[in-house]
């Protein structure tokens, strides 16, 4: 009896200390139970950042608004060589297939859907090669070629406009610059090929043997 009485104050002090320690640790960890709560609370009054990704934008860009998202895309027009068809196409095709003539776009092999769905003129305007055309025959500028792709790939387009599909061409800081479809996919053969990895950890391979 005597024993426990003399020990009691010590216990109380110890408990008090423990409580204080816990309390301190609690206040140190911010008051948000989950990261989503933290994001919501801290971004409620978001008023921008002082840094910008402008110094990292190396090429000419154009501003677009798609699905309510404002962003920049690299310009395309100045990077494609366009000539009038009639300069070469003065004779019927079978005659032009012969030897001796300068060859153009002979290296383009179409691997995009199947030949029943897609051919050159599905996207290119045979009357005016300086522009593209939609499925309904409306002209599409080379700078906004993504509009052509979005006719079929609507889901990808939606994700791309939001930023879940595709690749950033600047930094994370505003303004946002997104590569367009043709910056990653070859429109004539859009599928990514298989290849060998860029990196191989030879040491790990030895260690694991």
């Amino acid at each position: 009896m005597m024993h426990s009485a003399s020990r009691n104050p010590c216990c109380i002090i110890f408990l008090l200390f423990l409580f204080c320690a816990c309390k301190q640790a609690d206040t140190k960890r911010e008051k948000y139970p989950t990261i989503i709560d933290k994001i919501q609370a801290k971004s409620a009054h978001y008023d921008g950042v002082s840094i910008s990704s402008n110094p990292y934008i190396s090429e000419e860009t154009i501003a677009v608004i798609e699905k309510g998202h404002h962003f920049l895309i690299p310009a395309r027009k100045n990077r494609v060589a366009l000539r009038t068809c009639a300069i070469c196409h003065s004779k019927p095709l079978p005659e032009m297939r012969g030897e001796g003539l300068k060859r153009a776009h002979w290296n383009i092999d179409l691997h995009h859907a199947d030949s029943k769905t897609m051919r050159c003129t599905t996207c290119h305007d045979p009357g005016n090669p300086a522009q593209l055309r939609s499925l309904t025959g409306n002209p599409i500028d080379f700078n906004k070629s993504y509009r052509l792709c979005s006719q079929c790939h609507a889901e990808q387009f939606e994700d791309w406009a939001g930023g879940a599909h595709g690749k950033s061409a600047g930094g994370w800081a505003p303004p946002r610059v997104s590569m367009t479809c043709v910056n990653c996919h070859n429109p004539h053969a859009p599928r990514f090929g298989s290849r060998w990895p860029t990196w191989y950890n030879t040491r790990k391979a030895v260690e694991r043997k």
Binding site: R29, T34, I35, K38, I39, K42, S43, Y46, D47, G48, V49, S50, I51, S52, S53, P55, Y56, H69, H70, E155, D159, G162, G163, A164, H165, G166, K167, S168, G171, W172, A173, P174, R176, M179, C184, F192, S194, R195, W196, P197, T198, W199, Y200, N201, T202, R203, K204, A205, R208
Partner: protein
Amino acid sequence: MRDKKSNWFSLNLKSSTKRKASPCGCGRTAGSCKGSESPEHKDGFKQVFDVKMGRRKAFKKLTASLLSGAGLVDTSCSLTTGQSAKEKAQIGWEELFKGNYKLMTDAEKRATVQRLTRAYELRTGKTIHMSSKNAEKNVLFGYAFNISKCRGYMNCVAACVKENNQDRKSHMQYIRIHEMEDGKGFKFNEADDNYYHEVPAAGHFYMGTQCFHCDNPPCTKVCPVQATWQEEDGLVVIDYDWCIGCRYCMAACPYDGRRFNWNKPEVPEEEVNKNQHYLGNRLRKKGVMEKCTFCIQRSRAGRNPACVDACPTGARVFGNLLDPDSSIRYVLENKKVFRLKEDLGTEPKFWYYVD
């Protein structure tokens, strides 16, 4: 409070007022730091003995210097040693007794960065750019990884090794790409993270892991010397000069996100990335922890981490979680996302999603 704290661990060898006023940390208030012929500049011997202190304190300091810096003191006192050797010794001395980066004032951070830059210049004759940029206001970094898009090319790993000056000898890599069998879910024990064949392999999918920069990180809590902590912008960082190499954090991390330097890291001089940050890709030493910092030297400047820029399939999305218009927020709000081992309550800021 912070200011008081910041001086806890520093052995203030010169008079404290002078040191405070100095913008660079060489101890001089005027002129450039390069020349060291200044009347108030004390040499190594005087630094140790021309300080007013009690007997107990003097013995303490002497022991410390004998244990760790006898060679340095010797160089500093010698009349025959050249200027650069003396400066090297001086820098070595000050670096040895500097405080924890977390507790430093901005001026102290700049000073240590300046010393490290100068030391590198003296050692190799080349200049590096090292930053001590603090976290930006209104920023919380987050990352998303599209499992449907990753094809296992590993461009990210190669770019990361190059950007972050990782040890070439031990083939250190922060990022791991796991090749997993379709239909089996995430079986990390059965996955291969060091494949070398044409990718993507039939019947397999790929996913990457690295440091997830948890919002409730277990690694920082176990550090006995507080050499690792979470910054305001959510990055979990390490002060390589404060780390004692106990590897508690490595054991505490449930994601295998941390790496240890068992040997002296080796990076060929011509391959050293000279754009550095104190908490990021500056050259490490033997016996310290390191890990992915979301390329702090790039992200704090507004750029994407090297892995994001290197990914050829756009499987990696990086951004500011607090910006409602950012791509990362779009992913979180519109895609089906999940994180690894969510039930642990570590709150990683690294989400996986599928198309």
